[in-house]
């Protein structure tokens, strides 16, 4: 059975490559700068030359989702939605910022192919929204989520919450050794003991929040203090938590759920724990992954159903149980090992204000936190 499916797929691929190659060759011969020439067998719609084109293979019930969230996490959820709704989803997985870049390119060319953008962080949604590419969402969807976790103009909605934490080594630190505030990490006693991932979007969102809440000078001073403590730079949060486990550093500035995943792979003896900084400290900022519908989508109804599903009980339970994130829908509990969102006392901030990444990247460059 599997073999047969595979063989069919292969043949159809081969046919598509071959027919496309013919088209490309015809095109090359006719000078690449000329308006597109339609060759037989490409399956292109006759309106192709008018500019705004719908992909020929996409029927009216197939939704295209650009997902900056990992396939490992999202694919099972999409399957559930497909089974429930009868709507087919074609998902393109990739880095959130890179997907935002291609949506911006598509927008400039007036040829947006995505129906839904499901992003890892609010900043990327903000950039796409700022380019005028997102349509306002329905109030029934928006109202299910706390106003802190959605766009105030209703162009995107938060889907799941992730808290900043200090992941620490349970072998080398006791709870008494842990700082009460993120600002204590600039103390020289932490020199050489901190791991972080300054290129990570969540880390940069945290610095943006720092700038918004405490001011530019305080953020600069904090970054300079951390850099002076010679932090170990990791390419991503997973690497930073693994660095704590491996004894390279004692603490790491990360999101809360990376540890949960590593616990699932390594077992409960894994020598790392999360420290949620108390009392509304900046170090426990809660950010969201969220979704928005592209304004040019011709399948806005189906897209709305998908976004609606993402904030449904079913999907919210999934995020809680499978990705260890905080559900944003009232009445759905987070993983029992985690505090509740209310207990975290996340600092008050408008997540839209996290869109000013350029200023953050500049500040991080000036202080030597980034290249």
């Amino acid at each position: 059975m599997e073999r047969a499916v595979f063989a069919t797929r292969w043949r159809s691929h081969a046919a598509r490559v071959a027919s496309g190659m013919v088209a490309a060759a015809v095109l090359a011969a006719c000078n690449a700068g000329a308006p597109p020439v339609l060759a037989p067998g490409t399956g292109a719609s006759p309106t192709a030359s008018s500019g705004a084109v719908t992909s020929p293979d996409v029927s009216s019930t197939t939704l295209t989702v650009y997902s900056g969230r990992e396939e490992e996490l999202v694919a099972p959820l999409i399957e559930r939605f497909e089974a429930e709704s009868g709507i087919d989803i074609e998902a393109r997985y990739g880095d959130t910022a890179e997907l935002a870049s291609i949506i911006l390119e598509e927008g400039e060319a007036g040829d947006v192919r995505a129906d839904v953008f499901f992003a890892q962080d609010a900043g990327a949604l903000g950039a796409v929204a700022a380019a005028g590419l997102l349509a306002p969402l329905d109030a029934t969807v928006l109202d299910r989520v706390d106003a802190r976790f959605r766009d105030d103009e209703g162009r995107w909605v938060g889907v799941s919450g992730r808290a900043r934490v200090l992941a620490y080594s349970t072998e080398r630190l006791s709870e008494d050794d842990l700082p009460a505030s993120i600002t204590e990490l600039t103390d020289p006693t932490w020199a050489g003991r901190i791991g972080w991932a300054p290129t990570n979007a969540s880390m940069q969102a945290f610095v943006t929040a720092f700038r918004q809440l405490e001011g530019e000078d305080a953020a600069r001073a904090w970054l300079e203090g951390i850099v002076a403590n010679d932090p170990v730079v990791y390419p991503n949060n997973t690497g930073a938590v693994e660095g704590v486990a491996a004894g390279e550093v004692d603490v790491a500035l990360v999101n809360h759920y990376y540890l949960m995943r590593l616990l699932a792979e390594n077992g409960p003896e894994y020598p790392v724990a999360n420290h949620f900084l108390p009392g509304g400290d900046l170090g426990s900022l809660v950010n969201v992954a969220g979704a928005g519908i592209l304004a040019d989508s011709e399948r806005a109804d189906a897209a709305a159903r998908f976004v609606d599903y993402l904030v449904s009980e079913d999907a919210q339970t999934y995020f809680s149980e499978e990705t260890y994130e905080f559900p944003l829908l009232d009445g759905i509990a987070a993983d029992p090992r985690l505090p509740t969102l209310a207990e975290i006392e996340s600092p008050e901030i408008d997540l839209n204000s996290l869109a000013d990444l350029q200023g953050t990247v500049e500040l991080m460059r000036e202080t030597g936190a980034l290249d």
């Binding site: 490559v17 910022a97 990247v361 980034l370």
Partner: protein, 546 residues
């Protein structure tokens, strides 16, 4: 580049021998269809650069300040240094391995051939993870040393680690190109030198090495350009490279203009490397003789055998066994914790289709380029070739965005199609196929097809019945390189592929990036097995071909 060889070398050959074939290749002008084909390929290769220029023109003041920082120059310098170091390192590992596996009585020669080429199949970021697991601060090696009382292993992070990983990932380029020449070149010159009293070392340095120079240069250049545009390994090993800064710019500020301007600087540095390689090679150039080829004498290693085995073993251990062991460890650790072993057929099929088609198309595109460069050497030919190499260094993300831009604006019906993806792979990896095809074509010599022409065969018949069969090993080697590069490629696959299309490499990346190493292990293992099998097939064919 090729005209440098055509102009002839400096030693060993009587002037008359050098002049004869030279005269027969360079006096004719290239036929129009050949020029048109190469021009089309050149335009395709130039598209990414054109996109970068278009975007960079929109650069704002903020981004200009960013580019004008002294740090930019620092990063560029360290990237060029890394690239040069990797090119050199790949030569130091690749050339002896090629010689040992083709010309000596090394025990298990066949097996070593496959094992030393196979690291080409290991994505560099997997190799980086593996080396940290093996040689990092809490790795296997430091653990062993600590139990023996030795402390303070030098850090793997930064330049040393980046150099090591990228050298191990790229030496097979040098190994393959050098090996092809060693197997096809006439050993008569070396033997003449030896019979005239040169010792082995002198003969190797004065005769064999200059003979190999074009092949080594091609391989080292591929290695260096791979290093200068690599992002995955350098970021895992925390080396501040220029390509990494470009990625940071793309990823964290949605600033396509500033990033494009930075990418143009990187491409300029890459062109400088291409130019430098051509300069070095000009001095070393020597024409390959076209005598009847005989098998080279097998060099007995004697007591050096153990040193040779240790060398092969160390390289293979670091570049192949360590990553394979790391993948196995991920798998076992995950299964022990009850992670499901998930392996679906779709990504395997998608990988094979994409890589197979890319190899085929690149092999076809390489032919006109190689013909122009070898048969009609001159300014035009060398320009076309250098251009291809320069475009090879465009960072993956910039290349992907360029294709998104051009396909949306010029050929919207090709946007996000498999056709565009395959074409993108083929153009991206064309230098690999063109390089090996060129080396093979140089060894055929123009007089064979010319004789056939004079006997009344049409040009097409000559190509089909004589030149292509003779080119077969070179073409296959080139196609295999493209296959292996494509099957582990990431940025193009993620951003240009049809929506829903996923390869083994994107699966490995997606899982490992999210910290799901156990789930990354199965596709990574399959990726390595497929690649090993294709390497074994390729090399077997190479050994038996005439």
């Amino acid at each position: 580049m090729a005209q440098d060889q055509a102009r002839g070398g400096h030693v060993a050959l009587p002037a008359v021998l050098r002049r004869l074939p030279v005269a027969s290749v360079s006096t004719r002008r290239p036929p129009l269809p050949l020029l048109a084909a190469v021009a089309t390929i050149g335009v395709l290769a130039m598209l990414p650069l054109a996109y970068l220029v278009i975007r960079a023109l929109g650069v704002d003041e903020r981004a200009l300040e960013l580019i004008a920082r002294p740090r930019t120059l620092e990063l560029l310098t360290s990237s060029v240094a890394l690239a040069a170091g990797v090119g050199l390192g790949a030569t130091v590992l690749g050339v002896p391995l090629a010689w040992l596996t083709t010309r000596t009585d090394l025990p298990g020669r066949r097996a070593w051939t496959v094992l030393t080429v196979a690291p080409l199949a290991v994505p560099s970021y997997v190799l980086a993870f593996a080396l940290i697991a093996g040689l990092g601060p809490r790795g296997v090696l430091s653990g062993t040393l600590q139990s023996l009382g030795v402390e303070g292993l030098p850090s793997i992070y930064g330049l040393p680690g980046a150099l090591l990983v990228l050298t191990l990932a790229t030496y097979p380029y040098v190994l393959l190109t050098t090996r092809a020449t060693l197997m096809r070149a006439d050993p008569a010159l070396e033997e003449a030198a030896r019979s005239l009293g040169d010792g082995f070392g002198t003969a190797f340095r004065r005769v064999t090495l200059p003979l190999l120079a074009p092949a080594i240069g091609t391989g080292a250049l591929l290695a260096a350009l791979y290093a200068i545009s690599d992002f995955g390994a350098v970021s895992i090993l925390r080396f501040d490279s220029f390509a990494r800064a470009i990625h940071v710019q793309y990823r964290s500020s949605f600033d396509r203009s500033g990033a494009a301007a930075l990418a143009l600087l990187l491409v300029a540095a890459a062109f400088a490397l291409v130019w430098a390689e051509a300069r070095v090679r000009r001095r070393a150039a020597l024409r390959v003789p076209h005598g009847a080829r005989r098998a080279a004498r097998v060099v007995p290693l004697g007591r050096w055998r153990w040193a040779a085995l240790a060398f092969c073993g160390t390289v293979t251990g670091l570049s192949l066994v360590l990553p394979a062991g790391t993948i196995a460890y991920w798998l076992v650790r995950g299964l022990a914790q009850g992670e499901p072993l998930r392996l679906v057929a779709d990504p395997i099929g998608d990988s094979l289709v994409a890589a197979g088609a890319a190899a085929l198309v690149a092999g076809i595109l390489a032919l006109p380029v190689a013909f122009l460069v070898v048969r009609y050497p001159g300014r035009l030919a060398s320009m076309a070739e250098r251009l291809l190499y320069g475009a090879y260094a465009v960072p993956g993300i910039a290349l992907a965005l360029a294709l998104v831009f051009f396909s949306l604006n010029v050929v919207p019906f090709l946007y996000q199609t498999l056709t565009l993806l395959v074409l993108a792979y083929a153009v991206r990896f064309l230098p690999q196929a063109a390089g090996t095809t060129r080396s093979a074509l140089m060894l055929i010599g123009p007089h064979v097809p010319e004789a056939a022409r004079s006997l009344g065969r049409s040009p097409w018949e000559v190509l089909r019945t004589i030149t292509l069969p003779l080119l077969r090993p070179g073409l296959l080697a080139g196609a295999a390189l493209v296959f292996l590069s494509t099957i582990k490629e990431l940025p193009l696959t993620l951003l240009v592929a049809p929506t829903g299309f996923g390869t083994l490499a994107t699966q490995v990346w997606g899982a490992a990036n999210g910290g799901f190493f156990a789930r990354a292990a199965a596709p990574a293992a399959v990726l390595m097995l497929i690649s090993l099998a294709s390497v074994a097939l390729l090399l077997r064919d190479g050994e038996h071909s005439p």
